[in-house]
């Protein structure tokens, strides 16, 4: 939990280090600390004496309040609350104030990180706005605009009930669709399901096709789409990944020459690559094979 607190260099300078090494406060559960009250009291008194003096010199404007909060944290039973850095103590007090008594120690660093990231983003935006308005310093208005700008993306809440009701009345007016008379697995159209193959098999060939028994290399269709081959008439099979490769005649054409090898290839997915050879049998692939034979030497996909 090494969260840099942006506005508090004082705790570091006064003590040299944080009062307690970050690791221990996460691993030691609260129950076991109660067995060492004296040690923790010593620690608490030392931190209390250390931090107010540091704060008294620090111009952050909320000294009396912070000191009061720290005193309250010390008086409270939670031992680990006392040993935390100032920001973490504030967060733990906020949790107490909302009535949350039971939380994992991980929650406080999570909240602190979130706060840090959020404030950083807002201040970055505010700085941009200040520069745009030719200010040297960030004003409250800049911060306000920055917050409003981000509010639409983060911290959204569900739509209002009136809007939802309007949408729902429109949607519910359509009668339930009829159940189609079909056999087998009833699923949405293939393009909306996740059942199509999302890979294509490319075959490595160093020898002429008749004598080759190279294992095919499984190349995902992404890389095939990425490898642009301007002169290739195979442009059609470099379609969008995930589309049904059965629509592409080229890959089956390629496989046609190596049907025995591919049929022995293990099929990783339950979706049917073994079907591809049978498809090739149906398609006229003579011309395609010639194309493949031409470019086998300089095909970028072949390793």
């Amino acid at each position: 939990m090494t969260v840099p607190s942006m506005d508090d260099p004082s705790t570091q300078t006064s003590d040299g280090t944080f009062p307690v090494p970050p690791e221990t406060q996460n691993t030691v559960p609260t129950a076991s600390l109660s067995s060492t009250p004296q040690l923790s009291q010593l620690q608490s008194s030392s931190t209390l004496t250390a931090t107010p003096t540091a704060h008294s010199g620090h111009q952050d404007g909320i000294n009396p309040e912070t000191a009061a909060l720290l005193a309250a944290a010390a008086a409270h039973g939670r031992q680990d609350a006392v040993q935390l850095p100032r920001d973490a103590k504030l967060v733990s007090l906020m949790l107490q104030g909302m009535g949350i008594a039971d939380y994992e120690p991980r929650v406080i660093p999570q909240l602190l990180e979130f706060m840090h990231r959020y404030v950083l983003d807002i201040l970055g935006d505010a700085q941009t706005y200040a520069e745009h308005a030719n200010h040297n310093t960030i004003t409250a208005d800049d911060v306000r605009i920055a917050i409003e700008g981000r509010a639409a993306h983060s911290f959204t809440s569900p739509p209002r009930r009136e809007f939802l009701e309007a949408v729902a009345t429109k949607k519910n007016a359509v009668p339930l669709p009829l159940i189609p008379e079909k056999f087998g697995v009833r699923l949405p159209p293939e393009r909306h399901t996740l059942t199509s193959t999302n890979f294509q098999i490319s075959v490595k060939r160093a020898n002429p096709p008749s004598s080759s028994r190279h294992p095919p290399s499984f190349v995902s269709s992404n890389s095939m789409a990425g490898a642009s081959h301007p002169t290739s008439p195979n442009g059609r099979h470099m379609g969008a990944p995930g589309t049904n490769s059965r629509a592409s005649p080229q890959a089956p054409g390629r496989m046609g020459a190596n049907t025995p090898t591919v049929a022995q290839a293990p099929s990783i997915y339950s979706a049917p690559p073994p079907m591809m050879p049978t498809m090739t049998a149906a398609k006229p692939s003579a011309g395609n094979d010639d194309d493949y034979d031409e470019e086998e030497g300089d095909d970028p996909m072949v390793q």
Binding site: P158, K171, L176, P188, T193, S270
Partner: protein, 635 residues
């Protein structure tokens, strides 16, 4: 006289804006006398009234506190007969007065207001008060969801005519303009011509008031809509095929099976719904025969006979197990995890096929012999999986997750077939229809949606809840859907029209789980307030309130013949309740309101605690054995 009006207005304006010096100068020059009392005898003129209102109440930041305090004192001092009813209206006034104070930017007054008076309301509304105490700035009021819910919906209160007139005359005589304004704008009081009931059941308080999204009197008539709760008409061609197959195959128990089949072949009841489902095919016949066999072997569960419970405890989950579900034929368990995986265990080996050593009467023994085999892992979601549901024929599984999708998995290939996208917020629960084909999801966006397996966009959107929908369940006849929500109500929806047909109000906390009885006429709901409530669906009335759990209730299920109800929850116990017996009220005993919740209900048949395993899911198998699933938690 006319000259004085603008002068007084100007003086009041200067005072309220804090221009002290200008105000002093102006007063010296204009000789303005502020009105001390409002005498209604004189000419009632609007400017005078507005002036009075402005000067005496709005400019005085303590006006809210003072008037609320006086009202509260008056309610406490009134006769017991009226006190109960008048108390009901205090909470909404409290909430709206606080929100008004916050909205005007009076932070300190708002803080002292809430600190002085919140202790009154912690019993029923503790959580709401706590959430509202986080609202301290004017912009908080517009961002906080609960504050917006209170502001945009009228709070329903039901009281007798006497109490209502008492209240109104008190407010008017003493000129509580602010409070009158609140009552007018934000509260809807339903006045009944009945005498205030001195021995009124305090438990009904929640049923009579609160936010329902609907005015209270309309709720009564709303719940009178006609429903078709009967069973689906039997599929005659399929049943004749089934009968023929049984006769042809002639298994060992052919006569019993045929007898069982005759029970299924009934005339469609008068209120059978007319909804279409895919017809059953020959593939389903072996499963149907198995179902008949299990129905034949069903153990009769009565309040007298002890119940057999089998509990599966999952160890080493480290808090990442979000949901557990047993398949309908009790052969598989699906567990949804926070790391977005779903794990499937096959428990069919040894347990259901007559392994008598694994069952124990009246107690739960963890089956030590069966360490379940390796689980299959379903990969596909992008966030914690909050619920799963098996299809009736056990070939598909639907799961829903924080990544806003619901996914369909095939249990033959253990792969993800379809991802259903439609929600924009985490989906909390999903349920398959008992006949398959349709499923429903419940989400944080306050809606539940109905989907069918072959459409990737929802078919119906059920809008009506005021807060996120925590649970969804199909009616046994597959044509109604029940949702339970954080706004403490449950609603029954007709899936053909997409409309809400029943609202069940009565809980004091979020409704986490609901269950239907097998005959479809009764339903049970339970949740955060540790109580289980039984409702009659046809009339919308509450039949019973079952008190006994000491923690949140996660699982509810009726036995297959509908005689007992099992519930399990965060207090690590399973409790069995009697459904049919009517609860007798103790007459002549004064209700001690503070201790009312401590006495366990009379319908409790048994409480079976585990050591440290909160029960996530409860299912009765088809033979009426209760299966409980839980994850061992070290806290």
């Amino acid at each position: 006289m006319a000259q004085e009006h603008p002068d007084r207005l100007v003086a009041a304006y200067l005072k309220s804006r804090g221009y002290r010096q200008s105000e002093a100068t102006f007063k010296k020059e204009a000789v303005v006398t502020p009105p001390t009392t409002w005498n209604g005898r004189g000419e009632a003129s609007i400017p005078d009234f507005i002036l009075f209102y402005n000067e005496s109440e709005a400019s005085n930041p303590n006006a809210y506190q003072r008037s609320y305090e006086r009202l509260r004192k008056w309610v406490e001092d009134s006769i017991d007969k009226y006190k109960m009813e008048l108390r009901k209206v205090l909470f909404p006034i409290f909430v709206h007065a606080y929100l008004d104070l916050v909205g005007r930017g009076l932070r300190d007054q708002a803080k002292s207001f809430i600190d002085s008076f919140k202790s009154d309301h912690t019993e029923f509304y503790g959580q709401d008060v706590q959430r509202l105490s986080a609202v301290t700035e004017p912009h908080h009021a517009t961002e906080n969801e609960l504050a917006q819910t209170y502001r945009s919906n009228r709070f329903n209160v039901q009281m007798s005519r006497y109490s209502f007139e008492l209240l109104l005359s008190y407010l008017q005589d003493n000129k509580f303009m602010l409070i009158l304004r609140i009552v007018n704008e934000h509260i809807s009081i339903f006045v009944e011509n009945v005498l205030p009931d001195a021995a009124e059941d305090d438990d009904d308080l929640a049923a009579q008031l609160g936010l329902a999204g609907q005015p209270s009197h309309q709720l009564e008539s709303f719940n009178k809509q006609k429903l078709l709760l009967g069973e689906l008409p039997p599929d005659i061609p399929f049943l004749t095929d089934l009968e023929r197959t049984i006769k042809e195959e002639a298994p060992s128990d052919v006569n019993e099976l045929l007898e069982e089949l005759q029970k299924v072949k009934k005339e469609p009841s008068a209120d059978a719904p007319t909804i279409a489902y895919p017809p059953k095919r020959l593939l389903d016949i072996p499963a149907a025969i198995e179902e008949l066999r299990e129905a034949r072997n069903r153990v009769q569960v009565t309040p007298m006979s002890p119940i057999s419970i089998c509990c599966y405890t999952f160890h080493n989950t480290y808090g990442s197990l979000q949901s557990l579900r047993l398949s309908p034929d009790a052969s598989m368990i699906a567990g949804g995890f926070a790391d977005s995986f779903i794990r499937l265990w096959d428990i069919d080996t040894g347990l259901t096929k007559g392994a008598n050593s694994a069952r124990a009467d009246k107690s739960k023994d963890v089956v030590s012999s069966s360490d379940l085999g390796p689980a299959r892992r379903l990969v596909g979601h992008a966030g914690p999986v909050y619920a799963t549901s098996f299809s009736a024929d056990q070939r598909y599984l639907i799961s829903c997750s924080e990544d806003q999708t619901a996914r369909l998995w095939s249990l033959d290939t253990y792969t993800n077939l379809v991802a259903y996208k439609g929600h924009n917020y985490p989906v909390w629960d999903v349920d398959f229809s008992p006949q398959g084909w349709y499923f429903a999801t419940a989400s944080h966006d306050k809606t539940a949606r109905l989907w069918s397996c072959d459409h990737i966009y929802p078919l119906r959107i059920f809008v009506g809840h005021l807060s996120d929908v925590d649970t969804v369940k199909f009616h046994p006849n597959g044509s109604y859907v029940l949702t339970g929500s954080t706004d403490r109500t449950s609603r029954l929806w007709d899936i053909q029209r997409g409309e809400c047909v029943r609202v069940f109000k009565g809980h004091n906390g979020a409704v986490q789980t609901v269950a239907f009885s097998p005959d479809g006429r009764t339903m049970a709901s339970a949740g955060e307030d540790h109580t289980v409530m039984l409702w009659d669906i046809g009339s919308g009335k509450r039949l019973k309130k079952l008190v006994g759990h000491t923690g949140m209730v996660y699982g509810l299920e009726f036995s297959k013949d509908g005689t007992v109800l099992a519930s399990g929850g965060a207090d690590n116990s399973v409790r069995i309740w009697d459904v049919k017996k009517a609860e007798t009220k103790e007459i002549g005993v004064k209700k001690d309101h503070s201790k009312a919740l401590d006495r366990p209900s009379q319908s409790l048949l048994g409480a079976y605690p585990t050591k440290r395993t909160p029960i996530y899911d409860l299912r009765f198998t088809r033979t009426n054995i209760l299966m409980a699933l839980g994850a061992f938690t070290l806290d």
